[in-house]
């Protein structure tokens, strides 16, 4: 049983060359997966092959190489469609990342907003699901309101989003909700479906930031019933510089064009232009077509990690990692964990652990861990308001991917103890 587990896990890891790297002379233990994931060989080979043998601009030309490139690009779109269970390829727009996807919606949707209208966001948002809305609010005279956490309300210390407050916040002025599937700080799975149902009952559309969610648990956009869903390829084993915006057809059609340029048009005269149908209308200019096409092998890898015997072993491993990490981090009086599920009944947590050790700067810890080969994030994790609500300017974050093992979690904790002994 144990050897079967080991065999499967080492088989998984063998697909990802970067996991065999050494850093500072030590084997790399990569625990910054919430920032970006390492790539499997299939993606690496695809990128190399595509640049060698499949490089021609997409949707443009009447020659075989361009057909090959366009087919790869559109095959990836179809793969994404199936992966998130979108109804049609028209619903899947390629962008440059989650941030670009959210900006697209914030910019175009909010043009219909006026003075006094409200954009409702979540207190646990990444900066990329805050700032685009603030910019839109500035332009239109609308303002941004926040669904608070239990910490902000003073009713708890877990950092969970107080979804019960949504009812009070949803008045006639609210024109759109921008929420987060899984927080990149707490790792909590937010009650997204519940919030969406409440918003839809009042006819208000909802955008979901799925940057973390797509990796831990995935999404069925029809079941979730979100109006927009944004995520990045690089966080799910694909190339950097590629994002996805899923949108319901009627929602996407209601948006004015965002960026103007080639490929997004139907006919252009100097006086007037008509625009291409979905999804190309939102893909002005030459897209990152090779990066986007890498989503095909990337999502195949994601499927391999979650299906069959491999999927079962990885799921068990993730539960063991989470159990172990929570035990080590919550039983220590000097550790403050931001997103402690024990403080909040019934919440599910992805293996993202953000914490501080009292009296020690997170940056110091990260530096010493780096010397031992452990890569973790320190700082604000682009979620300054949420961290500040816990009363801290920075924190340390260890975020696991399906290819991480319990042994790595144990090694991380040993190194953490060692670093802490040096610093205290």
């Amino acid at each position: 049983m144990e050897s079967a587990r080991e065999e499967i896990l080492s088989g998984v890891r063998a697909h990802v060359p970067a996991l065999g790297l050494k850093m500072n002379g030590e084997p790399l233990v990569y625990l910054d997966n919430a920032a970006t994931t390492q790539k499997p060989s299939t993606v690496l080979d695809f990128l190399s092959d595509a640049l060698r043998e499949g490089n021609a601009n997409v949707h443009r030309s009447m020659y075989a190489l361009s057909d090959r490139s366009t087919e790869a690009y559109e095959a990836a779109r179809e793969k994404v469609r199936a992966f998130i269970n979108a109804p049609s390829r028209e619903n899947v727009v390629f962008t440059s990342g989650t941030t670009a996807s959210i900006n697209l919606v914030a910019d175009t949707f909010c043009r219909r907003l006026g003075k006094g209208d409200v954009i409702l966001i979540e207190a646990d948002s990444h900066h990329s699901n805050i700032v685009p809305w603030q910019l839109a609010a500035e332009r239109t005279g609308a303002f941004v309101k926040v669904i608070p956490t239990d910490v902000l309300l003073g009713i708890g210390r877990s950092g969970r989003v107080a979804a019960e407050e949504v009812d009070n916040l949803l008045d006639d002025k609210v024109k759109i909700l921008a929420i987060t599937q899984i927080s990149n700080i707490t790792g909590f799975l937010n009650p997204v479906s519940e919030i969406i149902a409440k918003a839809h009952a009042k006819g208000i559309p909802v955008l979901v930031d799925g940057a973390q969610g797509i990796v831990h648990g995935g999404v069925d956009v029809r079941e979730m019933d979100c109006d927009f869903y944004a995520f990045s390829a690089h966080k799910i084993y694909g190339a950097t510089g590629v994002g996805i915006l899923y949108g319901k057809k009627e929602m996407l059609e209601s948006l004015p064009p965002y960026m103007g340029g080639g490929d997004m048009v139907e006919t252009v005269t100097y006086a007037k232009t008509t625009y291409a149908p979905l999804p190309l209308r939102f893909e002005a200019g030459t897209p990152n077509f090779i990066g986007a096409a890498s989503l095909l092998p990337a999502l195949e890898f994601a499927e391999y990690l979650s299906s069959g015997e491999t999927g079962k072993v990885i799921k068990e491993e993730e539960a063991r990692i989470t159990g172990y990490m929570l035990e080590r981090l919550t039983k220590d009086p000097l550790v403050e964990l931001y997103g402690n599920p024990a403080l909040c009944e019934g919440v599910c947590k992805a293996p993202i652990f953000t914490f501080n050790i009292k009296g020690i700067n997170a940056g110091d810890l990260a530096q010493l861990l780096d010397k031992m080969g452990v890569a973790v994030r320190s700082g604000m994790m682009c979620a300054e308001p949420l961290l500040n609500s816990f009363g801290v300017p920075s924190a340390l974050r260890a975020s696991f991917a399906p290819y991480n093992t319990l042994e790595e979690a144990e090694f991380f904790v040993r190194c953490l103890d060692r670093a802490r002994a040096m610093l205290l």
């Binding site: 500072n24 700067n361 997170a362 940056g363 110091d364 010493l368 700082g379 300017p393 040096m422 610093l423």
Partner: protein, 274 residues
């Protein structure tokens, strides 16, 4: 001890550590034993922000020498700061401006000073130099306005190591100084284009006042020039050292924006533009 000698001393101290743990433990201990900065010095105007840690830096001048005090909420950063302060403390602004420290690299802590680590150290080093620059200018002004009691300033360009503000005003005419300044400006080169700042047309205004203080209004080839500060420093150093110059005031402007038409014919010829 000179800045170089102190650096050498630190490098020797670190050479006894043969593993990173001992080295970092030493830095951590340095950080812990660093004198605590007064709370009132930890005000926002002394704060240098970095994503990973915050750094406070304060500077005072005594007898023409600068003394720094600093603090950080990260102990490793603080340890490295204590090394930097040990190197710079008790030196004149000019000495600090002229120094190029490399011991951080030599003792293997280079990554800590990398701009990619937003731990405040890079900004702190910059701030130390800015303090030195500011005090240097203040000192020059006060020297320049003092009665010309110093001995003969010679006609030959002053020794490179001479401190700024040594030139005795009074022996030069405004026209002479103007010529000397232009000669000095022609020795300062743009970091990207192999033409000096004067012939490039970066100097928008050059004024030598009766008291031989020099006012320069200049620009960069691009508003986003990452070397802007270095170029201004170079201009400041070169002009300060020009014979007859009492003090230098440089104003950086980007209006109007520089373009190639501002270059002298010689410069354009040199670059093959005509």
């Amino acid at each position: 001890m000179s800045i170089k000698e102190i650096e050498q001393q630190i490098v020797e101290e670190f050479s006894i550590f043969d593993n990173w743990m001992d080295k970092y433990q030493y830095i951590i201990d340095l950080g812990k034993s660093m004198p605590v900065i007064a709370e009132e010095k930890k005000k926002d105007e002394n704060l240098i922000k970095g994503c990973q840690s915050r750094v406070w830096l304060d500077c005072r001048q005594e007898d023409g020498k600068l003394y720094f005090s600093a603090d950080s909420d990260a102990i490793i950063t603080k340890g490295i700061i204590s090394l930097l302060i040990r190197v710079y403390d008790g030196h004149t602004p000019k000495e600090i401006l002229d120094s190029e420290i490399d011991f951080i690299d030599t003792i293997g802590l280079r990554s800590n000073l990398s701009p990619t680590r937003a731990n405040g150290l890079v900004s702190m080093l910059k701030q130390i130099k800015l303090y030195a620059l500011a005090f240097n200018e203040i000192n020059e002004e006060s020297t320049a306005t003092a009665e010309p009691s110093k001995e003969n300033a010679s006609d030959v360009p002053s020794d490179e190591n001479a401190t700024a503000g040594q030139h005795s005003p009074g022996k030069y005419t405004v026209e002479e100084v103007q010529k000397n300044v232009i000669r000095a400006l022609k020795q300062v080169f743009d970091p990207e284009i192999p033409v000096n700042v004067y012939d490039l047309g970066l100097i928008y205004e050059l004024r030598v006042e009766d008291n031989l203080n020099v006012y320069i209004k200049m620009t960069m080839t691009s508003p986003t020039c990452p070397m802007a500060e270095d170029v201004v420093n170079d201009v400041n150093n070169a002009v300060s050292d020009a014979p007859g110059v009492a003090g230098v005031q440089i104003e950086l402007t980007f209006e109007p924006e520089w373009d190639e038409s501002r270059m002298t014919e010689e410069a354009r010829l040199e670059l093959g533009l005509i």
